[in-house]
């Protein structure tokens, strides 16, 4: 239910039905009459403080700027219209792409598993020698044609080096 002061506020705003407004005016106390005057004071102060003056409004012309913006909008190249796919066809295409990538991933995994491993020879002969006071390691590596490659590793003057024979 509206308070008495809310009724005063509606009366001040001319928002009460005529009969109700007349009845209220007839029974206003001196304090209520003063409240109405006080409301008018604040309203008038607000209007006078907030409303732009005639001088401020005199130069107002929004059309010039608006017209430019409308021209710019019209001059912009028309956007290319692309027909939107239906949700169903988008879903179907997405499922197809997923299936293709899954298949490719599975094939790649299988290929890695079945890939031929490089043949590793374990038929090397390795012997340690002492030559001219220095250590040497001789490694005999046979190949598939029955030939043999020998590698000799010398340890001298704290420098390691390979010599192929």
């Amino acid at each position: 239910m509206a308070s008495r002061d809310q009724l005063l506020s509606r009366l001040h705003d001319n928002e009460l039905p005529a009969a109700e407004a007349d009845a209220l005016r007839a029974e206003l106390s001196p304090e209520e009459q003063q409240k109405l005057v006080a409301l008018s004071d604040v309203d008038a102060a607000l209007k006078n403080a907030l409303l732009p003056t005639e001088t401020e409004l005199a130069g107002l012309d929004l059309w010039a700027g608006l017209s430019d913006k409308l021209d710019a909008a019209n001059a912009a190249p028309a956007a290319q219209v692309i027909a939107l796919e239906s949700a169903r066809s988008r879903r179907r295409r997405s499922i197809g792409i997923t299936a293709i990538f899954s298949t490719l991933a599975a094939a790649a995994g299988l290929l890695l598993l079945l890939r031929a491993k490089p043949a590793i020879s374990n038929r090397c002969d390795i012997e340690e020698l002492e030559v001219a006071g220095e250590n040497a390691t001789v490694i005999h590596i046979p190949d598939e044609h029955g030939r043999e490659t020998a590698l000799i590793w010398f340890d001298h003057q704290e420098t390691d080096q390979w010599e192929s024979l």
Binding site: M1, A2, S3, R4, D5, Q6, L8, S9, R10, D13, N14, E15, E31, E32, Q34, K35, V37, A38, L39, D41, V42, D43, A44, A45, L46, K47, N48, A49, L50, L51, P52, T53, E56, L57, L60, D61, L62, W63, G65, L66, S67, K69, L70
Partner: protein, 233 residues
């Protein structure tokens, strides 16, 4: 341009009210005229749009200025509001008045700008007044009159600054209601249309907004008024 670029008549006040039927007829004629203009704009008639801009630019600018207090920002918001109107005219079906639609766009732009600028509302105040009971001492209007002539508020810097500070204390919803009433002179029904809320809410918000304004302006009220006496006690 064939349409007349006049501003719609403001809400009738007790001082200037004419016969209610004449005001209703004026509004009906305005609505019909604007419906025709809108139809022309939809068909690409830019001159018709200019008529609407010329008709409403001062009021839209004043409303925006009331919110943002910066002439440049108010001008930008006004232009943006009209651009939105032009771009979205197809969504306006004429169920409400054109100007209430335009004001709604303007108010929303103002609120958006204030929020982006960190000048958002104080929800605490909303909460507080929402819980105040009607009839409690805090719910009473002040009978204290201003010590200054309100007509000179524009030239009284101190009072002007206090009024603006008081407005800043209001939530966006309360400020919107107060500005639509005081600057645009809209009726409760029209404000309800702009803010898309019931008329009862408009009445309540307006009442509370004014009450807060009175509280903020206590220093400017006449000594000896009941409110002042309560304050000094």
């Amino acid at each position: 341009m064939t349409a007349k670029a006049t501003e719609p008549s403001k809400q009738a006040t007790s001082e200037s009210a004419g016969p209610a039927s004449a005001a209703t007829a004026d509004k009906a004629a305005l609505r019909q005229d604007e419906a025709a203009l809108i139809e022309r704009i939809r068909r690409g008639d830019r001159a018709a749009f200019r008529v609407l801009v010329d008709r409403y630019q001062r009021r839209v600018y004043s409303l925006a200025l009331g919110f943002v207090r910066d002439p440049d920002e108010a001008r930008d918001i006004s232009q943006e509001a009209f651009l939105k109107v032009y771009r979205h005219l197809d969504t306006f079906h004429g169920q409400s008045n054109f100007y209430t639609w335009l004001y709604r766009i303007t108010v929303n732009l103002c609120i958006d700008l204030r929020r982006k600028a960190g000048r958002g509302n104080q929800s605490e105040f909303d909460e507080r007044i929402a819980h105040e009971e009607a009839g409690s001492p805090a719910d009473a209007l002040s009978p204290g009159r201003l010590r200054f002539d309100p007509a000179k508020a524009l030239h009284n810097r101190e009072l002007r600054e206090r009024l603006q500070a008081a407005l800043e204390q209001l939530s966006e919803t309360h400020r919107s209601v107060l500005l639509l009433r005081e600057i645009e002179g809209l009726s409760y029904k029209e404000i309800a249309e702009v803010l898309d809320c019931p008329e009862g809410t408009v009445m309540s918000r307006l009442f509370h907004a004014r009450r807060l304004m009175q509280q903020m302006l206590l220093d400017f009220t006449e000594p000896g008024s009941p409110k002042e006496a309560a304050k000094s006690a």
